[in-house]
């Protein structure tokens, strides 16, 4: 045969899980060296979705950047722009009114629920097959997510990349009809989310496929630099909303679910319990939105409105994947000098090299699904 150089590795069968694959959650290339059904060694390749966002930020002004940055982690867009805007407000020392802070947290928590529903649905597709029980779970999760997206469309105008946050406040106000719609959404979603959490966590085949698979020990989690539900599954109690509170999170009352073993089962259960906690926060917000104005600066009349003083700042928020951080260096003009994004999926994905060797092929798909990478975030 012409070019079969890979197979000359003595004893191992080399299989390519290429960039186009039904269950790698995006464009990701893995080369697996198999012996029978066990994986001996892997090589991974990234960068298929690199769009050069950090280079682009050396050309656009601060006011033009939030809609572009939302396309980073495309499953929960407003958390990206929230982090960037908070970092800029930290340099300029702008005070944000309490009402706009409440609205920002409302949108962020609703998108956290929608992102976790997508993670659960696609995990069902991986485990159960695209034609089978997994497809039923996938379509149920997306049916619930449609209700959340309808609320976002009513609030802002688009379903997804809403461009709701601006430097100094939010763009749209929340009127009484929208509040009634959100109340109706909470009433519909609450029993359904608890139902799904109950059903999936006690399913016999799900437990057989995910218990004791991909165990991250506490020592590995501390050394690796991961964050989010992945290290909370191993028992480490770190959440940016509680340890370094931002916006108005310190006024609300919610818990942080923790896991014990650190296997794939614990991570999925933690995500489903976080859904219920986010719904609690949304309920508390709706009960008491304060009155006030939604912006605290002059309205945007020209693209060069924001001119921060010289300096640098770092600000991090809790996205559904972990700690998302923005580091901005400004030199006094309307265009940033350097902007660096600390992507949570990139650090979480580096655990793949320690977890995959020694498992079956079927387990590798389960482990990748429970790490929940989003490749817009990994490659930027």
């Amino acid at each position: 045969m012409e070019d079969r150089i890979i197979e000359r590795d003595f004893g191992d069968l080399a299989v390519n899980m290429g960039p186009q694959h039904p269950s790698t959650h995006g464009v990701f290339r893995l080369k697996l060296y198999l012996q029978g059904e066990r994986i001996n060694k892997i090589e991974s390749f990234l960068g298929y979705l690199h769009r050069g966002v950090e280079k682009l930020s050396e050309k656009l002004t601060y006011d033009q950047l939030p809609p572009v940055l939302e396309r980073d982690d495309y499953l929960s867009p407003t958390s990206n722009s929230l982090g960037f805007i908070n970092a800029v407000e930290k340099i300029c020392e702008i005070e944000v009114s309490r009402k706009s802070s409440y609205i920002r947290v409302l949108v962020a928590e609703l998108q956290r629920i929608s992102s976790h529903l997508v993670a659960l649905g696609t995990y069902g597709l991986d485990l159960g097959g695209a034609l089978g029980g997994g497809a039923s779970l996938f379509l149920y999760c997306f049916r619930e997510r449609e209700k959340i997206l309808d609320v976002m469309e009513d609030l802002t105008g688009t379903r997804f990349h809403t461009n709701m946050n601006q430097i100094g406040g939010v763009r749209y106000d929340v009127k009484t009809e929208s509040i009634n719609k959100i109340k109706k959404l909470i009433k519909e979603l609450k029993p359904v989310l608890e139902d799904y959490a109950n059903m999936v966590s006690k399913d016999e085949i799900f437990m057989k496929r995910t218990k004791n698979i991909g165990i991250i020990s506490k020592k590995l989690a501390e050394e690796s630099g991961g964050s989010g539900p992945i290290v909370r599954g191993s028992g480490i109690n770190f959440d940016v909303r509680k340890n370094k509170p931002y916006e108005c999170y310190s006024e609300f009352d919610f818990n942080i679910p923790l896991g014990i073993n650190g296997d794939a089962y614990d991570r999925t259960i933690i995500r489903m319990q976080e859904n219920i906690e986010s719904l609690k926060i949304v309920e508390q917000i709706i009960q008491g939105i304060p009155s006030g104005d939604i912006h605290s600066r002059k309205p945007l009349k020209s693209p060069k409105l924001t001119r921060p003083p010289k300096g640098s700042s770092y600000f991090s928020i809790e996205s559904p994947r972990g700690e998302l951080g923005f580091f901005i260096v400004s030199d006094g003009t309307a265009i940033p000098y350097r902007m660096k994004i600390r992507a949570p999926s990139f650090s979480n994905l580096s655990l793949v090299e320690k977890l995959l060797p020694g498992t079956f092929i079927a387990d590798s798909v389960a482990i990748l699904g429970s790490l929940d990478p989003v490749f817009g975030d990994v490659d930027r």
Partner: protein
């Protein structure tokens, strides 16, 4: 014991999916049924408005929307006569629009607005490259969205009465 737990799980999962058969389907059967668009919809095309009484166009070609667009899709040529500016050429590439509505927010005279009509699919690229005549015709044909430049800027000005 374990066997009874397994049987209970199988029973519960099976009857959850079976119980879904009686509920109605959630698909909207396009094109016989259509979805109800909300007020603030911004996934559609653009339109250039004209003054209601005199009938002349509102756009003064100040080029603010051209400067603020993050994807740089607008091209404007200005000509001055009769004491104000007029737009000689106003091109907008609808394929690269990211629907952020910054151009609507910035306009001082409420000239450019978004319409409440989804862009129709077509097979030629010219249908997505909007010129000035096309946009002025859009503003007369379709219904406008809620957002206008003056409304957005007025709601953003601080120290306003609360609107609940």
């Amino acid at each position: 014991m374990k066997l009874i737990r397994i049987l209970k799980n199988i029973y519960r999962n099976l009857f959850f999916t079976l119980g879904n058969i009686t509920k109605p389907a959630v698909t909207i059967k396009y094109p016989e049924e259509r979805r109800v668009f909300p007020d603030k919809l911004r996934i559609g095309t653009f339109g250039l408005t004209s003054n209601e009484e005199t009938g002349e166009e509102n756009c003064i070609a100040c080029k603010l929307c051209e400067k603020v667009c993050p994807s740089q899709i607008i091209e404007i040529d200005i000509e001055k006569r009769d004491g104000r500016g007029w737009a000689k050429k106003f091109n907008l590439d609808l394929q690269s629009c990211i629907q952020c509505e910054l151009c609507v927010q910035v306009c001082p005279v409420d000239a450019i607005i978004m319409m409440k009509e989804a862009a129709k699919p077509s097979i030629s690229r010219n249908d997505f490259y909007l010129t000035k005549t096309k946009m002025m015709r859009n503003a007369e044909k379709y219904e406008a969205s809620w957002a206008k430049g003056s409304i957005l800027q007025e709601s953003h000005t601080p120290n306003l009465e609360d609107k609940k």
